[in-house]
Amino acid sequence: MKLIFERGYKGRGSEHLPDCDVPVCQLPESMIRAEQPALPEVSEIELVRHYTELEKQTYGVNDGFYPLGSCTMKYNPRINEEMASLPGFTNIHPLQSQDTVQGCMEVLYKAEEALNEITGMDRFTMQPSAGAHGEFTGLLLIRAWHLHHGNTQRTKVIVPDSAHGTNPATVTMAGYETVNVPSTKDSLVDLDALREAVGEDTAGLMLTNPNTLGLFDPNIGEITKIIHDAGGLCYYDGANLNAVMGQARPGDMGFDCVHLNVHKTFSAPHGGGGPGSGPVGCKAFLAPFLPGPVVEKENGAYTFKTPKFSFGRVRGFHGNFLVLVKTLTYILSLGREGIPEASANAVLNANYLMNRIAKDYDIASGSHCMHEFVITLERLQKETGVSALDVAKRLIDYGIHPPTMYFPLNVKEALMVEPVETEPLETLDEVAAIFEQVMEEARENPDLLHGAPHNAPIGRPDEVNAARNPVLRYTP
């Protein structure tokens, strides 16, 4: 497909601005760039057709089943988008005086109230812009608290081996050292290994519960107690909250702080990779260290306050505000019954699909799961040479987005499937039939899968060449 730079014609373009109605001023020649940037020169119809073509080569939740594990690709309600486009939100300058932005501040306040209730926390910062940014903020919160209490010897953060890659990367960014603890053969936290790992140098623990295998760790109360007894704090990675929202709260499991991926759990769309939003909540004792400002309510008016021992900002202004408008819209729509109903159906759909395909596929995560489950294709790979990658690519031919591949790392030839609550039964049945069909093909005609996909816009790309000979921009 043509690039936008390969369309159009020199000198072509659309006029969007009137003529300058004040005397035109030029900057001194010495300050001016040598050449105009070589931006596209296209008419509006060329521009629109270009992106319409790009859209046709893009697969979103609105195109079909999207069981991308750990990413919670649920339906993104249209009302959310419309509310986030209200001019009363979009046309607001972030540095307006507080009396002129009471509506925005109320959105932040109300969203925070609801998130506190859902997570069992006491305060939130809305600044973090994505999950990984939330993790970073959460660890800085833990760090600020330790430093405030003179705990300079606490330099290590414990991370189970099933964790998302962002967890250990975050630990390093926050100036800590990662201590990996292995999982038991049931893929849960190994309590003995954990007891051995904690000590005077433990700053905290980062944990996803349910974990990346889709398993809720029933020992969670003991796990957080071991950390607390050792003087550490517990961080809840909220990536998998969709399994338990309205059913169980991180705050009641013993966690001290948490980040949420509202672009997963609370239905804001991913936009092809963002913008997301990763608010961080904490128990009251950590609140004085949060990034500022936060919204307080005083005498019926909303006001910005910077917490007493705030460790500083993690981004400009107030976070990805419009994403939080979508969050609040969603929470208002679901309410107290809808939230647990959503999570229960997410768990039901996952268990149903797992059950339907378990006769053909080896499940790495036991007989019952939460919102997602992990398939291991190790046996298939040994017997036929067909890998998880091959199966994933063949699923594309049947019009569904592949599951997350090769994750978690402690499962060989892994495919991680998260069907979410917004998929109807009929889709799950169709998908189960497709999985069955693909397994049959894998056994009868492995080459068919090695060469897949066959009817996608492109065949498999040469990733090795891309990395060895990087072409990272268009050059005429």
């Binding site: 601005l17 859209e55 809720f216 092809g272 900002r313 768990v347 996608a456």
Partner: protein, 438 residues
């Protein structure tokens, strides 16, 4: 009301039975009873109409201004209609990060095109696919420069205060020391920077145009940094790049900035767009997603996420950044904006910003008690004194639907873009005159 779950109660019951359960509670038996939520203290779910009423009421509690003369990191530019129309396309909106290249060529190509446009604007060799916002881009950039021997960064005090704060947060965590050189005459203090640049300094970071609107001698600043072996990080306004010497021409090692002016609404501060571009030499230190061109199994052109050996999901604790989700749709917004404007449209926009800011300044300083604080070439922001309490002036302007300059120590930091007509500027100046001279 409802939670977008399509399955009927009867279907749900049938599904439960299929998997050997009788009730939903069975699904959660693994969770200790003491941890189960009985009932959330939230209001009952609401219909779409009720939710709409609530949200519209909240939006109505804000006061959007008709004429905006405030910038300071968020800018009111005209956004062509085509921008929103293209970026609202549902497949773009509802796709995840393009892990599966075969069915994500649209998103991947759009990022590749975005990277190219950022390289064109800044003159740099390589761009990433975006980070959260401008201040975070600056923080990631200064950390790209850190080495074992060079673990201090020097910041110009003429950077946006949020940039300074965020850079400090990121650096504190890694025990990278931050030295802020206070501004002098509304711009970077060249002598102060010279003194601060010792051989333990990893980089100098400054803003172009500076927080107070003044155009810096960027070439000289980059040269100062390089003389001591430090890198230079330029935080640039992307609209001004249509006119000003590019970071590459100035000798910068990394160019970053806030992409919001490129077609993204002000939206009370977000979502915005942090852009980052660097030289070929520093390409492998660049954090975040990068899209590359390659070929597919049929020999055709294809795009993929590449150089992933840098990233968290491969390197885990050895990764230099943890970024995963970025601001992809905002990056696409910027691309559509730049393609809609074209090189001449963008230049016209920048020239109008500058011309109108100069006109507004010329008119404002005719008012008794208002004078320009720093008489230096500026792009579209400038600082004046204010003979009355700035809040009084701004409140009066607000009554006319005008958002006045941002109150700062010196007085007011004004911004004028192409969007404000001569008539609007004249009206703003008339109200200011009335307040200041009465």
């Amino acid at each position: 009301m409802g939670c977008y779950v399509p399955n009927t109660k009867a279907q749900q019951q049938k599904m439960l039975e299929t998997i050997g359960f009788t009730s939903f509670d069975d699904l959660y038996k693994v969770i200790p009873e003491s941890m189960r939520v009985k009932s959330l203290k939230l209001e009952p779910g609401k219909s779409e109409l009720e939710v709409r009423r609530i949200m519209e009421e909240l939006a109505a509690k804000n006061n959007p201004f008709k004429s905006i003369f405030r910038g300071a990191g968020s800018y009111d530019h005209y956004i062509p209609s085509v921008v929103k129309s293209v970026t609202s396309k549902e497949s773009f909106l509802t796709a995840y990060t393009p892990y599966q290249a075969e069915i994500s060529q649209g998103v991947l190509q759009s990022i590749f095109e975005y990277q190219t446009m950022i390289c064109e604007l800044t003159g740099m060799d390589v761009s990433n696919a975006s980070v959260y916002d401008g201040p975070v881009a600056a923080a990631e950039a200064v950390l790209m420069c850190e080495t074992r021997k060079r673990s201090r960064v020097v910041l110009s005090g003429a950077l946006h205060p949020h940039v300074i704060e965020v850079v400090k947060t990121y650096c504190d965590a890694r025990s990278v020391e931050v030295t802020v050189v206070p501004p002098k005459g509304g711009k970077t203090d060249m002598e102060g920077v010279k003194d601060a640049l010792k051989d333990d300094v990893a980089c100098l970071c400054f803003q172009q145009p500076g927080y107070y609107g003044i155009i810096e001698d960027a070439e000289a600043l980059c040269a100062l940094a390089h003389e001591t072996g430090a890198k230079s990080v330029m935080y640039v306004n992307p609209i001004s790049m249509a006119l000003l010497k590019t970071p590459a021409e100035c000798g910068a090692d990394i160019a970053v900035g806030e992409g919001q002016p490129l077609g993204i609404p002000m939206s009370f501060g977000g979502p915005y767009l942090g852009f980052m571009a660097t030289t070929q030499r520093m390409m492998r230190q660049l954090p975040g997603r990068i899209v590359g061109e390659t070929t597919d199994s049929r020999g055709g052109r294809a795009f993929v996420l590449t150089l992933q050996a840098r990233e968290q999901h491969i390197r885990r604790e050895k990764a230099s950044s943890n970024i995963c989700t970025n601001q992809a749709l905002c990056a696409m917004t910027a691309s559509v904006y730049l393609a809609a404007m074209g090189p001449s449209g963008l230049e016209a926009c920048a020239t109008q910003c500058h011309s109108k800011a100069v006109y507004a300044k010329d008119q404002l300083v005719l008012i008794k008690g208002i004078s320009l604080c720093y008489d230096e070439p500026f792009f579209h922001e400038f600082v004046t004194t204010c003979p009355v309490d700035p809040d009084i002036l701004n409140r009066r302007l607000a009554k006319e639907g005008i958002l006045g300059g941002l109150p700062i120590n010196e007085g007011l930091l004004w911004c004028v873009t192409e969007k404000q007509s001569k008539e609007e500027i004249d009206r703003m100046v008339a109200v200011a005159r009335e307040v200041c001279e009465s």
